[in-house]
Symmetry: C2
Subunit: 426 residues, 2 copies
């Protein structure tokens, strides 16, 4: 029976029952963390052979005679460019391979936009009204970065196939201070949404008032499929932008952080020839070059997209049961009550959960009091503030499955308790 159909007495009984369950859980003195999208031990073990791909007796020349132990090759070794081109469905000429963190590449490009300006435009730091579009719910580190740089963050609603493009089109067309938008086009963080062809094409055809407007296309989860039989390809934004006459409008990012090692992987950026020249012009000042040995290690081990896909199928086999466990418990505990909705993503690292009543912050606080940490409510919104106080991000990969089950059960009870309190005016 839905809570909305219950009498006050029934609601009181339901609250009492769930508060009793909560007390039982509290006595277990739990200490669990489902707050961040981290790979687990077993996933990390999958990649240990990457470490053996370069040894003391290995040849360290890449195929074209470049010694990966020495200076040189600012934009990455050719073999790594080819691998990332395959991953991102583009060509090696569009790829810059650099560092261990795609977030750092985003930060460096944004610093460049702030200080130097993009392709001859004014430095964005001198536009006191600078703004950035943030589809919500979204990734807290994206929003935090633009907040750090002093952009005013404008929320854009997410639909089932991507951001609401009517809103995006209207905003960027009218306001020259809107300098960019954050996108996670495949298995979005946290909704798991996959952008439709229509949405990708509408992005490519945007007519922004700002010549230095950029789409930050964070394709972090492009190969992170939970069911490899059911991969959902998206259109290549770079070629769509080229076709639409907007070749310089997008920076695409990805990394192997959740393919090989988190922090010990390789990151890449793909963009237009003009943008790559622009990026290399400051990167040549900013670095003596990236770690080519780690690029070579990854290329030798994974070889090509087929190698990556085989490897990601092993990841999927490990984490899919965790997602299913969460979904099963949420169904069992909350199904039919009419008090919440949640996603069943086909890839990525997160489940996005929405309470109907404005109780999300109470739920995560209550869970924390009971020893289980979720991403704080609000974190998926700019400035950490969810106006509906509804969205919670669940990250089910890192913990072991029994702990995930316990944590999800606690979570579901907390949702019921806080919703009931809200309905009862407590």
């Amino acid at each position: 029976m839905q809570y909305s159909e219950m009498s006050k007495e029934q609601l009181m009984q339901e609250l009492e029952k769930n508060e009793a369950r909560l007390e039982e859980m509290k006595e277990r003195h739990l200490s669990l963390d489902l707050s961040r999208g981290k790979p687990d031990q077993a996933q990390l073990n999958l990649s240990m052979a990457v470490l053996d791909a370069l040894k003391a007796d290995s040849v360290t020349d890449s195929g074209n005679g470049l010694d990966c132990r020495n200076y040189g090759a600012l934009d990455g070794i050719p073999e790594a460019k080819s691998l990332f081109a395959e991953i991102l469905q583009t060509t090696p000429e569009h790829v810059f391979v650099g560092g261990n963190s795609s977030l750092t590449l985003m930060f460096e490009v944004m610093s460049h936009a702030m200080i130097d300006g993009l392709l001859g435009e004014a430095p964005q730091i001198f536009d006191a009204e600078r703004k950035f579009l943030c589809p919500v719910p979204g990734y807290d580190r994206h929003f935090g970065m633009t907040e750090h740089f002093g952009y005013k963050l404008i929320t854009v609603p997410m639909k089932n196939d991507g951001p609401d493009m009517d809103v995006v089109e209207e905003l960027v067309r009218k306001d020259p201070s809107i300098k960019g938008i954050w996108c996670v086009p495949k298995y979005a963080n946290p909704t798991g949404v996959v952008y439709s062809d229509e949405v990708v094409r509408r992005f490519a055809r945007l007519k922004p008032a700002a010549r230095d407007f950029r789409i930050y296309w964070d394709n972090a989860y492009c190969v992170h499929v939970l069911d490899p039989e059911n991969d959902q390809p998206i259109l290549d934004i770079l070629s769509e932008c080229e076709k639409a006459g907007n070749p310089d409008m997008v920076y695409e990012f990805t990394s192997t952080s959740k393919i090989s090692f988190a922090g010990g992987g390789v990151a890449a950026l793909a963009s237009s020839p003009a943008n790559l020249i622009d990026i290399k012009s400051f990167m040549t000042v900013a670095t003596i070059g990236y770690d080519k040995l780690n690029m070579l290690r990854h290329v030798r081990y994974f070889k090509n997209l087929s190698g990556i896909k085989n490897h990601m199928a092993k990841h999927a086999a490990l984490i899919r049961p965790k997602f299913e466990a969460v979904e099963t418990i949420l169904d069992k505990e909350l199904g039919g009550l009419g008090i919440a909705e949640w996603t069943t993503p086909a890839g990525g690292y997160f489940i996005s959960f929405n309470t109907k009543a404005p109780v999300a912050s109470n739920v995560t606080t209550l869970c924390k009091e009971c020893g289980v940490v979720f991403t704080p409510a609000g974190a998926t919104f700019p400035y950490g503030k969810d106006p509906a106080n509804s969205n919670i991000r669940i990250a089910p990969t890192y913990a072991v499955i029994d702990d995930i089950k316990t944590a999800t059960e606690l979570f579901a009870i907390a949702v019921k308790v806080e919703t009931l309190k809200n309905l009862l005016g407590k």
Copy 2:
């Protein structure tokens, strides 16, 4: 006999003789490069066992239970902080370990000064008069970075024990737009100068007009001794600044780029507690963390400062003969002519050469025409302009020794030819 004592006829004969030698060299169709401070193949081979320090069956936890394969530990693993603390003669609490490139750490800190401001001061980008002190001759990439960020570059003369501190003290005391100074305190690039205790103390006691004035102390060559029996320690700038009541005035940098692999090593920064908090506040936005596996690999292999010093002695054994070969040929060809001076460094990667006549650019151009590339004259000065047209940086590490001998011989002949032309008014 010195050229200055020769008759015009003698000078003409000398020119004819050396031009003939140059023609002979030209016919050898040389293609040599002594332009950059790169380690050679044999040096890189010294570190191949570093690659075996982490294998598929290695434990990847650092000593304190941190899994180096996963996210976390923004400022580096504790073991790496300890190693760099030993290298920099400081404590682990002063150390931030991050990335593969100390130049990148400098760039990131300077971006932060530009965009955010340091410890509550205004962003430096809003000071249109911002300036930076550049001891000359110095490192082209340092000067290029401050030029990139729009600082006006002010030259400061180098003496035999460091920058001219009378000049430095006077400038920073008077001008609040002077935001920093570049220093390579041990085996300076390119002079090989080692800063005296007096110079280090005068740096620590500076009274800058700008509260956000910083010393960028690039201790790149602190363990890069050519004669390990004759290491020349310098004072620890961090503790000297603390003693002088200027704890926040310095950022110190180093890396293993020329210890293990160029680009495949580990970089570190050391500074005051307040500066480290300030740095971590933007680094937490800029990265998901650095490559802890490469830190662990280096720590497992080198262990401690003693391990580093043993390793550097092997580097020294390989490159000292190259430095000696250059010095021997310069002595033989140019000794007693009174037309040039050059350094005999006890460490580092460079020999600094000064012509007496203003012919440095002609010399490097002539060498290039004969197939031998030196760092372009002027590169050791801000904006690439040496007012005396005198200084040339020789980098004798990368080429094989026979090529270095040939290149140096050509170089010495070119110096004679161009000086003679100058003296003869040609």
